[in-house]
Symmetry: C2
Subunit: 169 residues, 2 copies
Amino acid sequence: MGPVTGQRLAIAPLTAAAFAPFGEVIEAEGRASYPINAGTARRFDDLARVDVGAAGGKPLVGLCRAEPIALPFRVRLMERHPLGSQAFMPLSPTPFLVVVAPPSPAPRAEAIRAFRSNGRQGINYARGTWHHPLLALERTSDFLILDRGGEGENCEEVPVEDLGLLIGA
Amino acid sequence: MGPVTGQRLAIAPLTAAAFAPFGEVIEAEGRASYPINAGTARRFDDLARVDVGAAGGKPLVGLCRAEPIALPFRVRLMERHPLGSQAFMPLSPTPFLVVVAPPSPAPRAEAIRAFRSNGRQGINYARGTWHHPLLALERTSDFLILDRGGEGENCEEVPVEDLGLLIGA
């Protein structure tokens, strides 16, 4: 292989504010909570807008076991789900990469953002948000997935290798 | 305090088959899966029947941070959600206790079961399944919760201390 070349895409820390155009960050830190179970637990509520779209959609719970990537990482494709939201929550404290672009006919290079979660955060992609498939870091990682099941074609993929984007140093 | 007395309720390992009358075990082990993301990940699908009930219900994503209990543990109350299912998924590999009874006007002592998860399992209580509030073990534990939001009274609690049940040795 030749040297790794391309336009470098910096990785920003994942925060609720920075991620707001793309969906929600699922995390306890900084969120309102209330005591439950006679004070032995606290509940942080309504952390993701689960969207299963029109009639015929239902919430689908799955698990995903992902192999880690190495950085720098070349962005070759993006996908989106036109019929519903999709959430990923890590099942052990471990960071992952989130690469997104807002809804549009196709992701534009200058609109693509990369975030690194802090290890305790999950994310929920809003319906139609372009995103790279799951990018685990450091180790094989398990995630809970919450998305839409039911009739209809709910995955659209586009090749974006021509954009020449490389994530991370 | 005096000695701990009561009818001992043995703790069984949590398995999908044993838990079937109460809902689903959310786990990868032993489940069908398929490769995704060009073979860099596997997805295990449709692991819980998310039930948000009649019109006006919506899936609610929350987090819960629970203090651990010590064993033996006296069962003082049970609750159920008449309008929807409720799932708990641990966010680090850690076991927890699940105490359940099938739907009925009130939980009967002989119908109550206690399970210990293996650390990688979550559970989804079917609508109407009696269950004890979350019982973390060993350490303060975070869980993702997926249940029903929306109008209507969706929590029914009953005191069961009179049953005299003690969980664990």
